[in-house]
Structure formats: C-alpha cells, structure tokens
Amino acid sequence: MRRNAVLVFILCVVLAAGTGAVNAQSPAGSRGRSLVIVQGQDPQNWDPIATFLLSWGMVGCQVFDGLVDRGTDLKLRPGLAMSWSTADDGLNWVFKLRRGVTFHDGEPFNADAVKFTFDRLLGPEGAKGPQQGNYKSIDHVQVVDPYTVKMVMKVKDPVIITKLAGYGAMIVPPKYVQEHGSAYFGANPVGTGPFKFVEYRKDDHLTLAANPSYWGGAPRISAVTYRFVPEAATRVAELQAGRADIAQGLPVSQASVVKNDANLTLMPVGSPTVVEIRFDPSKAPAGDTRFRKAVIASIDVQKIIDTILQGYGHRVSTFQSPLSFGNDASLKPYPFDPARAKSLLAEAGVKPGTDVSLSFPSNNADFREAAQAMVSYLGAVGLKLTLTPVEQVTYFSDVLPHAKTGQIYEFGWGGWTLDFDNTAYLLYHKGEYWNPVFSDVDVEKYLEAERTTNDQRTRLKAFQALDRRLYDLAIEFPLWQSVNLWGINKRVEGFVAPPDDRVRLLPVSTR
C-alpha cells in the first residue's frame, strides 16, 4: 500500500514537472528585462471578435493594433491609419493607411487586411461572437488603393471613430487566419502590435516577446508573461513575494497591504465604470418617488466612499462618468438627510419596519461591504433592508433582465466609448435588455431627439434634459465612479495605470 503510494506520488511529480511549462516563477531580481503580470481572468479566446472582457484588452492591446488607437489618456490618435476624413458628415469615411507595417508572421499590412478584418467582423464569422453588434452601423469596407480604404456606413454613427479603437476592430492577418482557421487563431493570435505571441496555457499563463520591428519603435522590455490568478489575495501575495511585477484588479481591502510594502507602489486610476442603485418601480413601495427620494436621503454615500472605499471612488450625481459626453455638471447629488428621509417616508405612507430588498452581484467585494453599511443606514430611518447577493452570471443574465430583483438593485456600467449614447438608450428605453420595467414619456422623447441627429450641440442639449428628468424622477441612485487599483513592483518604470484595463507596455522598462 505504502510502496504503491510512493510510486504514484513520484509519478505525479514527474508528470507535473514534465507537462507544466516552467513560467517566470523567479524572484524579481532574476527576471531582468522581462515582466510578470498577474490578472484575475483568462478570456480563453484571443480572437478580437470573440469577447468583451476587459482581461482581453490587457493582452490584446500588446498583440493587435486598430486603425485608431486610444491610449491610457483616453485620447484618440492614429493607429494603423495615419489619418481619416469624411466628406459627407459621416456617411463615408476614408482612411489613409500606415506603410511598411508587417504582421508578426511576416504578412504585409495593407488595405486588403483592413477589408478582410471588417468582412470577417461583419460576416458569418463575426456573427458567432459578441463584438459584431457594436459595429452594425458599418455597411462595408472598400479598397481604394493598397494604402487607402473607404468605410461605407449604413447609418451615421457619432462614435464610430472611437469604436474603431475597440476590440472588434483590431486588424487581423488575412492569410494566417484563412490558413489556420479561427479556432487556431483564437489560441495563437497574430497581429501587428509591439509584442508577439509565444505560448499560451489556458487558465495558467500566456507569454509574449518583444517585437523589435514594431512601427512605433521597439519595446524596452524583452518579454512579458501574463499569469491568470483568480483570487485577489493570491495576486497580492504574488506581488509581495516578488514573483509578479504588475497586479490588476485589487480590492480596496487589500490596498493598504500594497501601500505599506516598501517594494510596491499602489496605483489608483479612475475608471469609466459608475456604480448606482436602481429602483424597480413595479415593486411597492419603489413606485413612489417619495420613497425613492427617502432611500437616497438616508444613505451617506460620501461617508461610505471615505471609509469603506478608503477614498477610492468619486461621488457622481448622474449615471455617467464626469468624463462622459452628455454629463450635466450642474446637477448636484441629493444631500444626506435622515430627518427628511423619515418625513418623506411618513408622507408616502411607508410604515416603519417595511422590508426592502437589495439585490447585487456577489462577486463585487467592495459593493458587498457598502451594502452592509446601507443595512445600518436604512435601519436608522425605519426600513428593514435585506441583502440578496446573486451569483454574477445569474444576476446579469436572468435576475436583472427579467425584473427578478428586490425593490432596489445594484447596477454598474462601464461606458467605454465615453459617450452617453451607448448607455442612455439601453438603460432607459422601455423594453431594452437592461430596462424591463421603467418607462417615462419625457425620457423617451429626449432619447429620440438625441438619436436622430449627428449635431453635437443638439445631442448635448437632449442629454442634459434627460439627465435632469431622471434626476427629478429619482429612478436611480447614482453612487460613485469606480477607481481601479493596481499594484506595481518598484522595479517597473514608465507604467501608466489604464482606466479601461488596456495596459500599454511599449513605454515600460525595468530598473
């Protein structure tokens, strides 16, 4: 029995050593010019049209380029296109392409590659993935000459240029994709970016090597290994042990551990994601504006930000980031006023001890703590709050769209185009996926007014009227704009924490 067990054990050690690729499991000092990044999630498919996950962008932005590029400052600049123009107010766009660029496999980048990319995205191959929906305003792409393409639109799209910096519009190598097929491409990505794909083991690691002939200059680090570590406490441990240089997605509760470590830097960065509580007006007493305003007045959001979020969050008064086009800065958050909350509840005839239920996705550690503080706040004005944490996929795919929440529920939104258009229609137009219940005549009117024009002044006016109407209805309770926390080893120089998780390693070097 024992002898067999010893044999089996030796066997499995050998097995492990044989099949496990030895990744960069070495202390910081011995890694030289290569980096190790730990991130929480492995998107499992590196094909740009296959995913919306931010964890794709962490890697994808090193391997691929789009026609347009959006850097860590969120400003648009030329990518594989040197310039673009439209002669007819956005119905046709002409792009002049960069010359002398090659894909990692040696294929030349040219107009055919751009046409292939968009044909693929908009065709049957793209239909299998989620990205296609984002680019439906494009009709097709024409090759004008080897370095010029024309993009013909179905409808005018005010944010099309921003979208061209998105995942789905990353340019892919035609010959490589056709030869190997999409499944192989998804596991062995090839692009024009500053780093080349080397190897990938699912749920374990992915390694990239510098592309010395990158059109934007050679990277200063030699290689980077991404390791997929789902548990945040483990990511912090990897940083502390000196085995990782950059860690993404740290919960606020781990911030001080990183801050107090002499070898590490904590980097907070405001993200486009805003967090709010929405009311379901079909569930009593949330249909009553006075009840909604009472809930809003009873919770001291600033105090929650200062304590539980340790200041890593910015108070918002509307459901969009201050960076977003369409934000009305003149609206101020409703003040914290428990006395007023009590009188509003009395006016609305809500009895003390009334049950209120708050649904939220259970994987959000920071909101989970905030929600527990809200139990105490609502208790102080006589409401009994119960919390219903829901497994996140069930939450987003069933509970939210089918209005199975409590009277109030958490909602977070990352408007990555930074234009309210992307958000407003889907959130407030009755019958949309995210809005199964709420409807208001004025809101529909403003939404219609915004969508039918390309004139930015008219759009802004419509958006601000919409902001005001939603604010008066108090149909939602905007809480804060999220701050993402990154942990960085001090040997890393030139790293800028990206608001949208699209890490840029080109300017990064090691000490």
């Binding site: 945040a232 406490a233 919960p251 509760s253 781990q254 001080s256 551990v257 001291d300 105090k303 929650i304 304590t307 539980i308 996705p361 259970s362 994987n363 550690a365 989970r368 703590e369 929600a371 527990q372 503080a373 139990v375 105490s376 208790g379 709050l385 119960t386 919390l387 219903t388 944490p389 829901v390 497994e391 996140q392 069930t394 069933d398």
Partner: protein
C-alpha cells in the same frame, strides 16, 4: 453492544493497552463544553451580545480588540463595516449550527436508511441505491449549488438543501459497507435462522452496529458543513452578508488577514472550537457505543 449480547452473549472485556483512560473523560468534558458554549450562544444571543449584530459604525471600522486599545467599547474589536465582532460571533452561532445540524440530520437519516436497505437486501435495492449514490457523487457539488441557487434563489434553506442532497451518499455507502460486513457474521445468520423478522434484525442488530461509524461521520459532517457554508460564500453563493454566520465572516475577512488579524482570527476560533467540540463528542459517543472495548 446489545446485538452482540443478544446472540452470542457478552464478550469478555479486553484492554488494548493497560493505560489509564485520561482521554476518555477529557474527550467528553472538553467536547461537550465547546458544543454547549456554541449552543448557548445560539439560544441566548440577544442576552449575551453587547451590541445588535447589524449595527454598523463606519467611524469605527477594523478597531483592534479592547485589550490592545484600552477604553474601547468592542471587546474583540470591529469588522470592516464597524460592527462589534463579539456580537456577530455570538449571533453567528445560530446560523452556523442551523446549517451544520439540519443538513447533517437530513442527509444522515436518508443515507443511513438507503445504506441499510442496500446492504441488507442486496440485489436490486443495492444496485439502485448505489447507482443513485454514484450519480450524486459524480455530480460536482459546486455545479449543483449553482443550479439550485440560480433556480430557487439564494437563502439559508437552499444552502441546507444543497448540503443535504450532496451528502447522503457518503452515509449510504458507509452504512452499506458496515452492513455488508455485519450481515455475514454468525449472530446475524443465527438471528435469521431462528426466524426473526428482517425489520427487527435491521433495527435491533444491524443499525446499532453501523451507528458507531455513522456518528463519527455525522459529527465530522456538522463541522464540515459549517466550513462548506464558508466555501460557498467564498465562491459567491452565500447568504445575506449582514446576517452573521461564522463561515461567511471568515470568507469576507480574507482580504484583511494581513491588516486586521482579529477580523478573521475570532470567527476562525469560533469555528475551530465548535468543530472540535462536535468531533470530540462524536469520538466519545463512538467509544460509548462499543462498550466491549472500553
């Protein structure tokens, strides 16, 4: 045991080693002490707890225990929401014991019955029960938990249900193997020969023999289920986090292990002592059920 006595008369007692049984009594005293402490907390929580368990003071987050910070109102410190840790641990006994005991009772009774039938009658009964056990054992616990909680919604009763449904097979297989061993013994054969009814044989002679093993497994499972509740919270399938449960408290405090040790240490200690209590009582029970060895 009674079975042994009824059929073959009392066995002469033997001692494995001639040592004084310090452990025998110590086991019971210490074990009962811990279990009683947990039960008392659960029953008398409103009388014992210095604060309401949900009362949060955001100005008093993560305060260390009173002996490290003289003059503080919180004997064991506060958690990340500024709630009194001692009060939450006292109230937490309710949820944790409820989860542990109810799920074990349900799965233990169901599993034991099926195991007895399968082992004693064999044949179709055995085949059916054991294939059902295979079915349950090869169904990943987490997958089952997600399906149940997604379809029925989160809640304490759902957690008890998940634990009960995913554990009966262990009892069934254990009891079956004990029954198989007992079935062929001389005294059961003799009991059959003199024409005792099956029901009486199972009830009086087979079940008591299996109870020793079942009680060991059951006490271990109470403990284990308290921990599984923590694992479910860890994976995001737990209950309302404002209602204190030891497992939930431990799962939620994992990010503070390095900065506020008390936040995870005291719930951990509560789990540890209770788990130990149940196990020690189980040990004692086991010894007591097999007196021919004492």
């Amino acid at each position: 045991m009674t079975a042994t006595q009824a059929v073959s008369g009392p066995l002469p007692r033997i001692r494995v080693l001639r040592r004084r049984p310090i452990g025998f009594r110590l086991t019971l005293i210490v074990g009962l002490g811990f279990v009683a402490l947990a039960a008392l907390s659960a029953l008398a929580a409103p009388l014992l707890a210095p604060h309401p368990p949900e009362a949060a003071d955001l100005g008093a987050r993560l305060l260390p225990p009173a002996w490290l910070r003289p003059g503080a109102a919180y004997p064991l410190g506060t958690d990340a929401i500024g709630r009194d840790l001692l009060s939450r641990i006292i109230y937490g006994a309710r949820i944790s014991l409820e989860v542990g005991v109810l799920s074990v009772a349900a799965s233990g009774i169901a599993g034991t019955c099926l195991g007895l039938l399968a082992g004693y009658y064999g044949g179709w009964w055995d085949e059916l029960a054991m294939r059902a056990a295979d079915l349950q054992l090869s169904f990943p616990f987490i997958l089952f938990a997600i399906v149940v909680i997604a379809v029925l919604g989160p809640g304490l009763s759902r957690i008890v249900l998940v634990l009960a449904v995913t554990q009966w097979a262990s009892y069934a297989r254990l009891v079956r193997s004990e029954t198989l061993a007992v079935r062929e013994t001389d005294y059961i054969q003799a009991a059959r020969a003199i024409g005792l009814a099956d029901r009486r044989i199972i009830w009086r002679h087979v079940l008591p023999n299996a109870l020793g093993a079942v009680s060991v497994l059951a006490t271990l499972s109470v403990a284990n289920n308290i921990l599984l509740e923590a694992a479910l919270t860890f994976l995001g399938l737990g209950v309302d986090p404002s209602i204190p449960s030891w497992g939930g408290m431990l799962a939620d405090s994992r990010n503070y292990i390095q900065t506020a040790w008390w936040d995870s240490t005291f719930p951990g200690l509560a789990i540890m002592l209770t788990v130990m209590g149940f196990n020690l009582v189980g040990d004692w029970l086991r010894d007591w059920l097999t007196p021919d060895m004492a």
